[in-house]
Amino acid sequence: MATGMPVARGVEGLASPRAVGPRRDALRRLRRNRLALVGAVIVVVLLVIAAIGPAVAPWHYRVQDLDALRANGNRPLPPFSPNHLMGTDLLGRDLFSRLLDGAQISMSVAVVVQLVVLLIGVPIGAAAGWFGGRLDNLLMRFTDVIYAFPDLLFIILLGVAFQETILGRAMNGLLLIFVAIGLTAWVTMARLVRAQVLSLKESEFVEAARAIGVRDFKIVSRHILPNSIGPVIVAVTLGIPSAILAEATLSFIGIGIQAPRASWGSLIAYGTKWVQSEPHLVVFPALALAIALTSFTFLGDGLRDALDPKLRGRQ
């Protein structure tokens, strides 16, 4: 595998014999993975769009440009019209601006769901792995139950059950969807952290910490968890596209985000009705969704390769 290695790197390595830390080593591998890098750049762009997109959008997502609509014979404007880069929908709303607003929804799904997953999955997984015994058994049995649940259907049921509560009304129904998706997704994280803790529990540095009387909580939080951060990061990154997809699917079938706000999924659902006469209404949101899903998948794959201990230290 050393064939493609530039000579300069070898010389540089000789000049500074100091060992490369695992983190920098991983970063270096990630930088060499072009697909992952492109994914990372797009992810950053998407996050920026989500943060400031609605503020810089040429139109508000619910404003109807009725004059332009009338001028066009009451037909939605095609893409690349003046003032409407991606055209408008049948109500004269600017598709580009609605996509920007949808980006905010998709990215907040990405962030909030993974936060829920981390907040629930990591402590439970760590406790199960560390204490073992009955707690561990309980977790594993519970995971079996969650795994047997058809997850999308469980999310739908949760969504409908709490639709009318405070939780269901918060953020146009979004918060509920986040929580519901997170509730089905955390078990994978818990299992992962449990496995990590189990394998690190017997390591020498843990034994050393125990020998000098460090308390359980501190051993797990200071010694074990930082050492299992790699797989956790990978799982979070790869969990994001499935969360985005779940939200889009829910919005597509009409559960989830409530009109007039629209996520990419509900934009696609809307476009479906007019797919024969106005294909741009489907094409743009579908492209946006595809780009987001691909970028996160590439980044996650790249991170996994970069952080995989089997490859560490090799070129």
Binding site: Y147, F149, F154, V160, T249, V275, L289
Partner: protein, 305 residues
């Protein structure tokens, strides 16, 4: 092995009980009831219907009655389709859903594995890039988008295939492809990755140095070992095919059972919701066991005890 299998199969029972309990409680926590209509029914009618269907009993009584009937193979009444039992509804549609799922699964495996193998054997060459592109598109395109795309191209533009329905092989093509896209892409990805790993092993090098032809090395030495990690993802992918088919069924108006889940929830049809959840849960639980057993069968290094 047999002891392990028995334990795994027996364990399905408590899992199903838990799934049914959670669903039952959640379902009854959903506001509204099966008798809600655009025009509300008179209170007296609702009361009579509730009494007739036992919906005014305490919830644990209702659950036990439902579970008791289930053990005898009776899924109970449908609250929406009042002239039909849930057994009838499920019986009518399940064949179609299974057929759709099996066809999509076969398509995904038969295309995905060769695609991944070709990509790995021609790593960083044109076939690899082509195969990778296909699998990227497959992963990044949700089934509902793929379905739409297929309809636009093959039904609306080319007019080769019907836009919806389920009458004869021509109408099976688009739903099957739409459902198979994502699993096929995943299978191709995993096959490629594990083939690449196997390529670097000593026994493959030995096989080549013995002077074996590439075809022999690939088919005899590499395929079986490289498929082990692929088998582990077949379980989740099968589960995806089972539970994900409802979207495809909705889009193509396939008369399967998938559409009844969303309808069941929206219409508070308790009997249908429970039946669908249990059906899916049984399929997923059984699939997981099957995949584990298959795993041990392909990889003799794995022993369950």
């Amino acid at each position: 092995m047999r002891g392990y299998l028995v334990r795994r199969v027996l364990w399905i029972v408590p899992v199903l009980v838990a799934v049914s309990l959670i669903t039952f409680l959640l379902m009854h926590a959903v506001p509204g009831g099966p008798w809600d209509r655009e025009k509300p029914l008179p209170a007296s009618v609702v009361r009579r219907l509730n009494a007739e269907y036992g919906l005014d009993d305490p919830i644990h009584v209702q659950y036990l009655r439902w579970a008791g009937a289930l053990i005898q193979g009776d899924l109970g009444p449908s609250y929406r389709y009042r002239d039909r039992s849930v057994n009838d509804i499920v019986g009518d549609g399940i064949g179609t859903t299974v057929q759709l799922g099996v066809m999509a699964f076969l398509l995904a495996v038969l295309l995905g594995i060769p695609l991944g193998m070709i990509a790995a054997l021609r790593q960083n060459k044109l076939p690899d890039y082509a195969a990778t592109l296909v699998s990227i598109v497959g992963i990044a395109t949700p089934s509902f988008v793929l379905a739409l795309l297929l309809v636009v191209v093959f039904s609306v533009t080319l007019r080769w295939l019907p836009t919806h329905g389920w009458e004869g092989p021509a109408s099976w093509v688009l739903p099957t492809v739409a459902l198979a896209g994502y699993p096929m892409a995943q299978i191709a990805r995993y096959t490629r990755a594990s083939m690449l790993e196997v390529t670097r092993t000593d026994y493959v090098r030995t096989a080549y140095s013995k002077g074996l032809r590439e075809r022999a090395v690939v088919l005899v030495h590499m395929t079986r070992n490289s498929l082990i990690p692929v088998v582990t993802v077949l379980g989740p992918l099968l589960a995806y095919l089972v539970t994900g088919s409802f979207i495809v069924e909705l889009i193509f108006s396939v008369p399967g059972i998938g559409r009844f889940y969303v309808n069941g929830i929206n219409e508070r049809d308790y009997g249908l919701i429970m039946a669908m959840t249990m059906l899916y849960a049984v399929v997923i639980a059984v699939l997981n066991v099957v995949v584990d057993v298959l795993y041990a069968y392909i990889d003799p290094r794995i022993r369950y005890s």
